[in-house]
Symmetry: none
């Protein structure tokens, strides 16, 4: 037997067996104990170190489990062959790790994706959370229906029917962690040959998802009536992705003529489908909500897509799609091995929140709040006419601002950003860049009425745009 | 038409359609029905066997779904080439099993993915939920860090360092909605030329994800010491996906020699990486937990992956990966437009639960509970020796059961399933089918000790396996 030297610190925090384990392991890694070396028997080491049999056993068991040593029956323990670890200059270094991008401080955030967080019904939400997080619901810890739990899909179906005129049964609904998670699944079942027409200007995210998952997209211009369906018909597109109730970002509504034309286009070929993204239709301030395209569809041609991002909170990550029955079986077969990506407890909190009528109540309340904010914003902008005009003010949480000036959109954008005003320019959302008056999305959902007023003032001061007339006394 | 002989047992427990399905399938596998042979039409078989149209349809549909036969429009059903089948069969089979089985009543669920739901600390969880769901946290309604909120990543880093020897800073951690959501992101940044070696047998889900997102995977055999690294070296693989602490499903530990060999393999080429999936390392019942491979890695070669599925609940959908610093910037650039798919409120509930030491407490408690269940199971199985043996009983929530009998794995599987015992056979997890003693994964996490005992008794009664000796008084 070779020499073995183990130093134990009896009053260390580290258990004795671990000290023994560590030292033998290190000696093996360092090559001090050669391969094939016989270790002292447990009994020998026990006597030698004056520790209990259990201590030695735990150390040897651990070394055996990790393969540093091996027992040969009736012979003893031997050091196993371990390749020396080839040494690579560690580049590991906290400095090389990109830390959070420290952006310029933002004083006013006019992003279109922000919402009002001040009026969220935390008390009600907490109540349903408490009810759901109960031992009587222990089964909710396990995986549920991969398409979303039935309770939630039932509430969504009910809500869609009453509020959006969407005609579906809960079985048609697939719950997912947001549009960006659901779209790739949809793309998969629509097949590799599908060609996607997208609105131009339109959502950056969907354009990104389509090109990442399928390839090229076909941009179709949007005008005052929404997507140009005649232009769509001249393309090879097989799938049209549209936001008919409230086009993003222009805010237009797809006209009735275009709606029927679009549905007829889809019906003309069995491979054609329409994806209707109804992302913020809850918030319409004039007239009744625009009914969904899905509700007009007689040919199982519309895939309806929506989310709770605007109506509840962006960070909850719950979205859903309504599949036409003929796509359901394809979907089911394609994704059998996948679980739902939406936490089940959250699904049930939301289902109860909806079932009790809290969701409708919340929407009614928020509609009033956002309407008031919209009113404040547009009222205030009016005083900057005619240099400043706006459109898309009938719904949603942003408007389109048009600045009639010789300066370019880019110049104005940079001036705003430098002054700590977060704002997005229209060209960002366009594929085909056409000459147009500098335009910006002005989101107001996350701002208080005071901030809307001072934010607009600050923005126009930065842009050196003055009120048309001095305020009358 | 060739001769076809099907024997139906009308008073068997097995549904008629399944008897028809089984016999045709077996005849195809055995080569009794040659490739290209035309099967009788549904109508012919209906008349011939005197069974309903639905019965025949269900059998043919199942055979078609699994690729044993294929329909040619207006001609009939034809036997498919078996060579192709043996290649595709494992995936296809498992894809169809879970859903079909959902319909059968399950008396005992020995699935490996179930957990104990009885001892979940609902009271503590609810407390943190209440604290988080508060107007003072209204900002949590908005989108957070796309990589996961810092508070949670900090707790995960701390936990990984102390419990798993993982060496990382919070900035390296990416939080996602489960392994199945994180892996595709990883695949994207590892590039199109990456070739993935997977353990055989191994996880079905990862194999599925790799082939869906990248193409072919390279199966590498697993033996008593874990992944065969020498076999890996002979392939073109650039990425090795491994479960070194507790190989799924065999339960072996990657030996120290193999660990260094694997790390050296990865270090030999700048494009090589190891994905270490440490899915259930919290539950080890003998000796200390096996330290992570990541902790031994000096060359930024290991991507560490884990989840809260086993340690908390499958339905929460929170997993994470630890990226080597050199991959971080690539990751950040690739996914700039994406938001985190994990609800922010849930991230903060979990972060607080961990920060207060509740997570460690829960793990210690559950370790004792699972250890006791493991003990009960293995004690009980011992009385069925030597026909029944088992392995992989040092950790986790399942063991591998080996049945020393002349019957096939498939026969035993079907008998169990028909009796309402949900169990998975080892071949399901294999890519390359080798001859071996019939083996099954026996998961016990979700069963009470009583159910473990009666479940095992029921299973062996169904299999007609008797205790070796009468119980002593």
């Amino acid at each position: 037997m070779d020499m073995i030297f183990i130093e134990l610190q009896k009053n260390s925090n580290m258990p004795l067996y671990q000290q023994i384990y560590n030292q033998i392991k290190q000696d093996i890694i360092d090559g001090k104990f050669p391969v094939g070396m016989k270790l002292p028997s447990k009994r020998q080491l026990e006597d030698f170190l004056g520790v209990s049999q259990t201590t030695i056993e735990m150390a040897y068991d651990q070394l055996t489990a990790e393969g540093f040593i091996a027992a040969e029956p009736r012979k003893g323990y031997y050091v196993q062959a371990i390749e020396e670890l080839s040494y690579v200059q560690p580049t590991k270094n906290t400095l090389s790790i990109p830390t959070k991008m420290l952006n310029e401080p933002v004083h006013y955030d006019f992003s279109a994706n922000s919402i009002d967080t001040e009026h969220f019904p935390f008390t009600a939400w907490r109540k349903y959370a408490r009810d759901v997080m109960d031992p009587s619901n222990a089964h909710l810890l396990l995986l549920g229906d991969p398409h979303g739990d039935f309770e939630l899909r039932q509430e969504i179906a009910r809500y869609l029917y009453h509020s959006r005129g969407v005609d579906c049964v809960p079985e048609q609904i697939i719950v997912g962690s947001g549009t960006e998670q659901l779209l790739p699944l949809l793309i998969r079942i629509l097949g590799k040959d599908a060609q996607y027409a997208i609105e131009d200007p339109g959502y950056l995210m969907t354009r990104h998802v389509f090109s990442e998952n399928n390839g090229q997209t076909i941009p179709i211009a949007v005008d005052q009536e929404g997507l140009d369906v005649k232009a769509l018909q001249r393309t090879n597109a097989t799938i049209a992705y549209v936001t008919p109730s409230h086009q993003f970002p222009t805010g237009t509504v797809l006209s009735a003529a275009r709606r029927t034309a679009l549905l007829n286009w889809a019906t003309s070929n069995s491979e054609f489908f329409i994806i209707e993204d109804d992302y913020d239709s809850e918030f319409r301030y004039r007239g009744r909500p625009i009914p969904s395209l899905q509700g007009m569809d007689k040919g199982e041609k519309v895939i309806y897509l929506s989310t709770f991002t605007k109506s509840l909170m962006p960070s909850m990550r719950i979205a859903y799609m309504v599949l036409p029955p003929r796509l359901l079986e394809t979907y089911r077969q394609a994704f059998i091995p996948y679980s739902s990506s939406v936490p089940r407890i959250d699904q049930h909190i939301l289902a109860r929140f909806m079932a009790d009528g809290q969701f409708s109540r919340h929407l009614n309340r928020m509609r009033k709040i956002y309407r008031q904010k919209m009113y404040t914003l547009t009222e205030y902008l009016t005083s900057y006419k005619p240099i400043v005009t706006f459109s898309g003010d009938e719904a949603g949480m942003h408007i389109l601002l048009h600045i009639h000036t010789d300066r370019t959109e880019q110049e104005l954008l940079e001036q705003a950003l430098q002054a700590g005003i977060k704002i997005h320019n229209l060209h960002t959302y366009k594929v085909i860049q056409t000459r147009s008056v500098p335009s910006f999305l002005l989101g107001f959902g996350g701002l208080s009425e005071d901030d809307i007023r001072t934010g607009v003032d600050t923005l126009f001061r930065v842009w050196n745009i003055k009120k048309a007339t001095a305020p009358t006394q």
